[in-house]
């Protein structure tokens, strides 16, 4: 069990957001290049090579680390795109590369041994055997845990492995086992695993119709909203569908993960780092969430009373609803 200080790992979709996260108290910031090598390949988001180098300088000057996500899966005829991204991340002076693909992990392990390798959640490694394999083969130093494990399972896992673990604590919740979801591929031909984009915006439309607004993805109706009702992004797994004569959120309710009340439990379970999701979110969101978690983590580290972080961040959650997800598992 680790007794080191918990590390707060925060998202940055743009250089301005990186600076905001660092100034709000992030111990580490994760980001990606402006291409398909990372799982948030949205228009206008991410970093050029120069912007990353500048971001690393800024973060290091303020005592924070930068972790570069190169965590999509390479294509057989284009592996060089992923290898070059890893080379650029290493040259920028970043502190770690977050990867899932064997080709990327192998390339970094063989050519950039000075940089830490973190196993992306996209690898969906959740057993001591799987994590041990990645550690033995590629020397990974940390694994980002899939969001399907309970606190007890995380504690058991940490007792059985000798690499660090990083657990998501806030943000969008992916109900699928990461790296193995085909819903977006089915509907749009593009997936987070290969193209770095789930429910791509070029296939999204909001159509004003007599009864209100219809949100569609690649022509499929994902949800309908009455006039004046708040709308959402049409992510397929969070859509409302009719089955057996009943209309409901068939796959997943549009709720956000908030494990802010479990920081002490995660620390006790041996977790090294807490991760906030949301590279696609703006500076305001990142600043507010990072600041709240900074206070909560510091309170836990000082042995004080846990903060009511759910109340603090209720307005920042998707659908204004929160869940502790699998950490307090009541289902399987």
């Amino acid at each position: 069990m680790t007794m080191t200080r918990l590390e707060l790992v925060c998202p940055a979709g743009t250089p301005a957001t990186l600076r905001a996260a660092v100034q709000a108290g992030a111990d580490a910031v994760y980001c990606g290049f402006r291409d398909e090598t990372n799982a948030r390949n949205f228009p206008g988001l991410n970093f050029s090579r120069d912007e990353l180098a500048e971001g690393v300088r800024f973060a290091h000057d303020h005592g924070s680390k930068v972790l570069v996500a190169i965590n999509t899966f390479a294509r057989v005829d284009d592996v060089d795109i992923w290898k070059k991204a890893a080379d650029a991340a290493a040259e920028s002076g970043a502190d770690a590369i977050i990867a899932a693909d064997f080709a990327v992990l192998d390339h970094v392990a063989k050519n950039h041994s000075q940089i830490r390798l973190h196993l992306s959640v996209q690898a969906a490694a959740a057993t001591p055997e799987a994590i041990g394999f990645y550690a033995a083969q590629f020397g990974i130093r940390r694994v980002v845990l899939p969001r399907v494990l309970s606190l007890q399972e995380i504690a058991a896992l940490n007792r059985a492995i000798d690499v660090e673990t990083e657990a998501f604590v806030f943000g969008g919740l992916c109900v699928m086992i990461e790296g193995r979801c085909y819903l977006s591929s089915y509907a749009t031909g593009k997936s987070p695993n290969l193209n770095g984009v789930c429910s791509p915006p070029q296939m999204v439309s909001y159509d004003e119709e007599p009864g209100g607004t219809t949100a569609r993805l690649s022509g499929f109706t994902i949800d309908r909203y009455e006039r004046g009702q708040p709308v959402g992004y049409p992510t397929l797994c969070k859509g409302k569908f009719k089955a057996d004569g009943r209309t409901s959120h068939l796959f997943e309710d549009p709720v956000s993960l908030n494990a802010g009340g479990m920081i002490a439990g995660l620390k006790a379970a041996g977790v090294t780092a807490l991760k906030i999701e949301g590279r696609q979110r703006g500076k305001g969101y990142v600043s507010e969430v990072v600041r709240a978690f900074r206070k909560a983590v510091d309170a836990v580290e000082k042995g004080g009373e846990p903060l009511d972080i759910g109340r603090l961040l209720a307005g920042q959650s998707e659908g204004a609803r929160q869940t502790a997800g699998a950490y307090e598992k009541k289902w399987r």
Binding site: T14, A16, L45, E51, G228, K283
Partner: protein, 181 residues
């Protein structure tokens, strides 16, 4: 009480004071300003990617006119157009003027304004997203658009942002304006 998704609107009098013809000089001025910004900060426009050549129809619902903007770096253009012409753009963004300005200077969050329906968008969603992310990263101040530096820039920023803040507070106290939407 204002409905939850109503943002402050300019009073109706303002619309009468600024008919469509009053907006015409804004086109060339904003075109020059955008091109000058592209010369000083080319990286800002690169972030738009393929959406640089998209035509954005910006429709402040409390003004009598709208804008058509093509943010193509040093070939950028801004034209003052009718509401109907703005609606024929690749992307249409509609909302109260003070809200649209708040998005530009970073005072307001674009996602929150869209999801709560204070602003509405239609057309090419990927272009809207690219624009939103570009503006988020740009951290534009009024002086950036005017190409000012130093003390003058700081004075202009303080003045313009202060004036906008006062305008928002005044509009917020003007529920009749909100009902005109």
């Amino acid at each position: 009480m204002r409905p939850p998704n109503a943002e402050p609107m300019l009073p109706g009098l303002f619309r009468q004071l600024f008919p469509a013809v009053a907006g015409l000089p804004l086109g060339p001025l904003l075109t020059l300003s955008l091109r000058s910004l592209a010369r000083r900060r080319p990286g800002l426009f690169e972030r738009l990617g393929e959406s640089r050549s998209a035509c954005f129809g910006i429709d402040p619902v409390d003004l009598a006119f709208a804008f058509r903007v093509v943010p193509e770096g040093q070939r950028s253009s801004v034209r003052v157009v009718s509401k109907d012409e703005a609606a024929r753009s690749d992307v249409q963004i509609k909302g109260p003027l003070l809200t649209l300005l708040g998005l530009l200077d970073g005072t307001l969050d674009g996602d929150a304004m869209f999801f709560s329906r204070v602003i509405s968008i239609s057309g090419r969603t990927e272009a809207v997203l690219a624009l939103r992310n570009t503006i988020e990263d740009a951290e534009l101040r009024p002086a950036d658009l005017l190409g000012l530096h130093g003390i003058l820039a700081r004075c202009v920023d303080t003045g313009v942002l202060g004036a906008l803040s006062i305008a928002r507070r005044l509009a917020d106290k003007n529920p009749s304006g909100a009902r005109e939407a």
